[in-house]
Symmetry: C2
Subunit: 144 residues, 2 copies
Amino acid sequence: MKREKNKELFRKFVSRQGLKSTRQRENILDVFVSTKQHMSVEELYEKLRAAHPGIGYATVCRTLKLFAQSGIAHEIHFGDGRTRYEPAAQGEHHDHLVCTGCGTIAEFENSTIEELQTAVADGHDFLIHSHKLELYGLCARCRK
Amino acid sequence: MKREKNKELFRKFVSRQGLKSTRQRENILDVFVSTKQHMSVEELYEKLRAAHPGIGYATVCRTLKLFAQSGIAHEIHFGDGRTRYEPAAQGEHHDHLVCTGCGTIAEFENSTIEELQTAVADGHDFLIHSHKLELYGLCARCRK
DNA sequence: TTTATAATGATAATCAATATCAATAAGGAG
DNA sequence: CTCCTTATTGATATTGATTATCATTATAAA
């Protein structure tokens, strides 16, 4: 199961880096892996406080950064000034359809686009590490 | 010429919106249209101060936002917390290759990718308004 | 000119994220 | 199990970029 795999990966990361396993990190990990996509730090913080009162905002920020470093999370910026995180699915990648009407975010994957990206990068002698593709517009509901 | 066209477009926008033509706006317009791509607000401010001392930072911010509203500029966010602007070329669109080694930004266009994006959006009954595609990695020089 | 209104620039306010730091917790050594 | 070094936490201050405020100045139409 993906969730458990990410939890395992993070625990290995912590031990490999000589970091310590703490109650807070486990709590944040639990909530994070079972969360819906694209949560902002603020949203995750609120959700965490509900389940684990007393946790600090700074700790949430720090831990999410660790998640990104460990590879189990991706940091996302949609240009609204908030940092968002989403659980990473190893070996997969998806891009986003962002509705400017209601804020809904849908996901998609398209391997042909990915291949073309690689081709473009090759043409520039550029080595792709990661990419970001976002389509902004109106979702089906907001078009009506 | 593209630069003059953008200047004309902005002047029309100002008059159409009942805004006023000011020395500062003309100065910022001059510097902006003749600038290299992807300048941050800070960089544009510094460049402007060199040519037109006394101009305020807030005015630069406000005017760049107006440029974006008028359609002659695009606002760009690369995730480093700085807002950048680039002159818009009407009817064209390009995407970015961002080197995480030296920070260099190259541009590319690929109409096939654009078509596939439209196809993906159609499949979701989504109407694209704009999009952002950025490839992060190492440029030719940094790969060596 | 006069006059209503918009724009400017200095500065304060905002907002998310990060740094600081004293108190606490983890976990290996003995 | 206890000690001890070091990492972590959480409260708060700070940062850094952008935006709001507001008195003063400038624009452009009557």
